[in-house]
Amino acid sequence: MDPNDVLVKAETLRNSLSSGFRDEIVKSLYSEAEKIARRAVKTAQEKKYDLDQKIDRLVTSPLTGLPLMLILLGIIIWLTVSGANVVSEAIANVLFGIGGWGRALFNQIGIPWWITGFLWDGVYLGLAWVVSVMLPPMAIFFPAFTFLEDLGYLPRVAFNLDWLFKKAGAHGKQSLTMAMGFGCNAAGVVATRVIDSPRERLIAILTNNFVPCNGRFPTLIMLATVFVASAFPPALTSFAAAGAVVGVVLIGVAFTFLMSWLLSRTVLKGEASAFTLELPPYRRPNVTRILYTSIIDRTIFVLWRAMQTAAPAGAVIWILANIHIGDSNLARLIADWLNPVGLLLGLDGVILLAYIIAIPANEIVVPTMMMVYMGAGMMIDAPATSAGIYNLLVVQNGWTMLTAVNLMLFALLHNPCATTIITIYKETKSYKWAAVSVLITLGTAFIVTFLTASFARLMGWA
């Protein structure tokens, strides 16, 4: 039998049926469900008021919903900033101490300088940097985020932001996938499967990278702590740093809306589709599960991934720094060559080189950057404290506030990491869209940093 015959037959039969036959069936399905449910469920006593509803009235109100959200985000980031700083320094001291000890040991037993250098100044240093910079903020941020997730707060965020997404011509569920993006952009891209319409799903995929993932948070936090906060009196530093990070997050959200709006007006034209969003009841979070999820699934997972890319990155930097050409080395030559572009963007050549080396996982960009400065002979010792980092970057390498601000913007907006790009390809099954996702983000990053740099210079601030 030819499949076409069956389809034709189905078509004729469908036309022979009274219009709206399907509606009838759906209607009777629903009324049947209603009847059965009414028979099975008895409300024992009418509760006068429901605590959930009271909280929801506050959390999802147009007046208090958004401010509450910002306050929560602010608290989480402040906890992360103020808690991570101390621990980071302690870890850095221990790890760099071990590095110095290992190097000394290798020298003592007569191992060739290039093996010692490659292992201890390359691979090990890369790992030590990543662990000390990334582990503490993650160990604080992830449990806090998972707590809100377990509590049932995320759908309320989606509810609060729905109207904005609608205005941008995107799907309201995009706020859920965006929230997932704070955890991991690759996970956020996979989460877009909850969006039915292919057009809106593509918008959600292409703009997911504008929210900083947990891998990029440590970069932002470190920059905010070292540079932005240093412009404030000591008592206010942690608040200033947290405020700066919240500001960057908001800029990311703003770009999500802006880009969604642009896409839905140009290449992905269409109207936002309606959907139902269920606000689940608040549930008492399960502490052991939160700890398991946030420490094992998230912290260790992200850290392991970062370490896997940091070790080879450290090796590459060491090799680049130790191939001497004339009285310079390869790392320095490349950095010098990239410098004009870097300066145009308010950054410098070393930062761009670090970004290129860190493409596999751009959360390691700050450690990479430090190592390139050192490898290129622009920095002598690995600084362990934030004051040390500040001194070395500002005093020795001429960083300004513009450098720090633009680096934060660049970290927020630039291309997705390799994993996310591969995930986008897998989800869209199209090289074109994967390439578009890179071009959009990289393009935005270049334009925005170029504009802020030019503006700051025009105003004589930098």
């Binding site: 049926l17 059965i36 099975a40 469920v41 377990d150 049932g152």
Partner: protein
């Protein structure tokens, strides 16, 4: 012989119905060999993943927001010596529209032909949850309804009568609380009974108008001829009458027949394995 003769007491009839008799072994990812396949369907955020973790001992990420699971997760458990593969499907409100998560759920229930499908429902919002239960029952007979979040329902002052529900739906409904483990043994015993045929299900189905029924009856033999051994020609006929593009596509491209053939092959292998291992 010096061997002491210790008398082994075999469980009696009465003992068998006692929950303590049953043994549940969480098998995690060790699902290379399994005897039965059980699917977990349900609305978003009803606790499917929590139940999945409780049964398999795995740590699938759970979170209190709808749409968390978008792919299917697989794990295993052993209950009374029978090994089950458990498939956690994405949470969906219906099986009718065409978003990817709904498609994953629907395709698995239809083509994966699980031996039993547990529809996890939120006891605090039963009416809305029943829509999906009825849609699943359109596709398969072997359904067990898990009335989850019973603790929350009680907190809200709701009393859910599982017996009335079972009677009306024609499939067993078991009150559970996946978070505390309450009712899980009964649920697994019920699933086993449905698979063995000790519990006969008779799912409630919406019949539609007489003309509609006639149209369905005309299409069913044609579909069966096109894809011999197709699991549920009636449901496919309804989808075709509805103009479901995905089903039309599957029919035209021959994908439907292929999937049926693949499934049959798996069935043959399965029964061969069973006969070798001496299981029923």
């Amino acid at each position: 012989m010096t061997k002491t003769n210790t008398k082994i007491t075999l469980p009696t009839e009465n003992c068998e119905t006692c929950p303590a008799f049953y043994t549940l072994e969480q098998m995690g990812f060790k699902i290379g060999n399994f005897d039965r396949v059980v699917a977990l369907a349900g609305n978003p955020n009803t606790g499917k993943s929590t139940l999945f973790n409780a049964l398999t001992g795995l740590k699938q990420h759970t979170g209190n927001w709808p749409g968390k699971t978008v792919t299917r997760a697989e794990g295993g458990y052993q209950f009374n010596g029978v090994r089950y593969k458990l498939v956690d499907l994405p949470g969906t409100y219906s099986l009718l529209s065409a978003s990817q998560d709904e498609e994953v759920a629907r395709d698995f229930i239809l083509f994966g032909q699980p031996d039993c499908t547990i529809v996890v429902t939120d006891a605090t919002a039963l009416e809305r949850n029943l829509n999906l239960v009825m849609q699943v029952m359109e596709i398969t007979d072997r359904v067990v309804v898990a009335l989850n979040l019973m603790d929350e329902a009680r907190r809200k002052g709701l009393e859910v009568d599982a017996r009335s529900l079972s009677r009306d739906l024609g499939v067993p409904a078991v009150p559970i609380s996946a978070r505390t483990g309450e009712g899980i043994h009964t649920l697994l015993a019920t699933v086993a009974d449905v698979i063995n045929g000790d519990i006969k299900t008779k799912p409630l189905r919406v019949e539609g108008t007489p003309e509609f029924q006639k149209a369905v009856r005309e299409l069913v033999p044609m579909i069966e001829q096109l894809a011999p051994g197709v699991p549920n020609a009636r449901w496919l006929a309804i989808r075709l009458l509805d103009g479901d593009a995905k089903v039309q596509q599957a029919l035209l491209s021959g994908e439907l027949a292929q999937r049926v053939a693949r499934q049959k092959q798996a069935d043959v292998q399965f029964s061969r394995k069973m006969s070798v291992e001496g299981r029923q």
